[in-house]
Amino acid sequence: MNDINRSRRDFLRTGGALALGASLPISLVELAFAESSQNFTFAYISDAHIQHIKGNRFVRNWDMGLQRAVAEVNLLTPKPDFVMFGGDLAQLGSKEELDHGAEIMSALKHDVRYVMGEHDYYLDLGAYWEQLFGPQYYSFDHKGVHFIVLNSIRTYDDWTFKRWPTAEQRMLEMAGLDNPNGSPFMVGEEQRKWLKEDLAKVTKTTPLVVFSHSPLQKIYKGWNFWTEDAEQIQALLKAYKKVSVIYGHVHQIQYNQIGNISFNSVMATAWPWPYPQAYAQAEQYLPKLTVPMNRADPFFERDATGWQFINVANGNVDLNFTLYSNKDRVVRFDKAKKQPQDVEYQVDKARIDPQSHY
């Protein structure tokens, strides 16, 4: 590592230490990327799983998670340019859940864009969601970055259209993460064709940021930490110099680098999930790069949930995780190693006991 990089690293470490004193890690935004006028931040909230009980009753725990994230994002200074919601606003895709979730989200003082999750989709295939939030896949440009939103949670037509007697049952079958009756997620031919056409208009040096609900990489099929046509999407993105994929669904911190593509997951506001290696019967491929989160403490109901703000620094993304009942974490793109890295825990000996999962 050369001198410039070493000094940059020390500088970041100082920034992190300063941030500890603040109630929100605001210093990190201002300090780390002062060198570029093109840098900006956006906030990311995901996986709220608003769950209807009956009448006017919703599961309190999940409501509280989303409400807290919304309130804290409103306090961010400097103000993020926009907010993304990463999918699974609802638990079973009902109007009641989507309406209630949208109402909580309406307290945000920022523009919000939405990604489709399987819990929003499989009741009416996104029809009501579209009325509230717009198209299921789209792209937009912001300060020189091309953003792409995909609906990555579709599946085989036979499963969607022929297998289940009712829409309600279809939704229930897909809502169970570990349900053997489920089906692998995919972007599908229609969107791959659209993506190819969309990318044709974008120069190869334009930084790309792709939002999907499921990982556009293959980690563990049994829980759909998986997208069936991931390789085909990766191939379409290969020609671009800087590509970041940001995904929800997994309710835990994951990150990876495949060729030119950086992968980062975002937190859920609802509840945490085990890392796939915690399932003894599974063959899984958690990226070696990923340093796991601390094991969740169920006695603190917001532990291992949270939200994040994302610095887009010279076209690469750095994720700042706001974790409740736990230390915040920063996963930053390392320019020398050309991969995302945890600022504090990447090295084995820096890890702490609760990060080992069994």
């Binding site: 799983h49 769950q51 209807h52 009980i53 599961v59 309190r60 725990n61 169970g176 993460l177 570990d178 349900n179 049994g222 829980w223 509840w271 945490p272 999930w273 085990p274 796939p276 915690a278 399932y279 003894a280 019967q281 599974a282 094991r295 969740a296 403490d297 169920p298 006695f299 109901e301 999962h357 069994y358």
Partner: protein
């Protein structure tokens, strides 16, 4: 019937009983094993149904929402000192904690067939993992 005969028949009956007992204690057939395994798997199946059921608690939340395939329940580490409760507890007490809190439901008795089924399922999903009682 003479007394002798009576004693004789009694002894015969006793020896038959001993023979029967000896057989049942020492030998069982593949059919027996199959039946017992089936009894266990029925309990596992019932446990899996309870694990994914929105009606085990009162708010529609199911165990599987946070614990797909019962992952992160660590049955092999119980009994253990559960730091949040401040004493050594068996697995079923932790299951009841979850029933009361995230599921907003009613705890089950230790010998409730439902509680036994839940433990059968959770442990079955961890088959092959070595026992580590007390590990936190």
């Amino acid at each position: 019937m003479s007394t002798f005969d009576f004693i004789g028949k009694g002894l015969l009956a006793l020896s038959l009983m001993v023979t029967v007992n000896t057989v049942s204690a020492d030998e069982f057939t593949p059919e027996d094993q199959q039946r017992w395994q089936q009894q266990f798997m029925d309990s596992v199946k019932q446990g899996r149904e309870l694990w994914t059921s929105p009606t085990l608690g009162t708010n529609g939340v199911a165990c599987a929402q946070c614990h797909p395939n019962a992952a992160n329940t660590h049955p092999e580490t119980y009994p253990k000192f559960q730091k949040q409760i401040g004493k050594v507890i068996p697995l079923w007490e932790m299951i009841n904690w979850c029933l009361r809190n995230p599921l907003e439901g009613v705890p089950l008795a230790a010998d409730d067939p439902k509680m036994i089924a839940i433990q059968a399922y959770v442990t079955y999903e961890r088959r092959g993992v070595k026992l580590e009682p007390g590990k936190h």
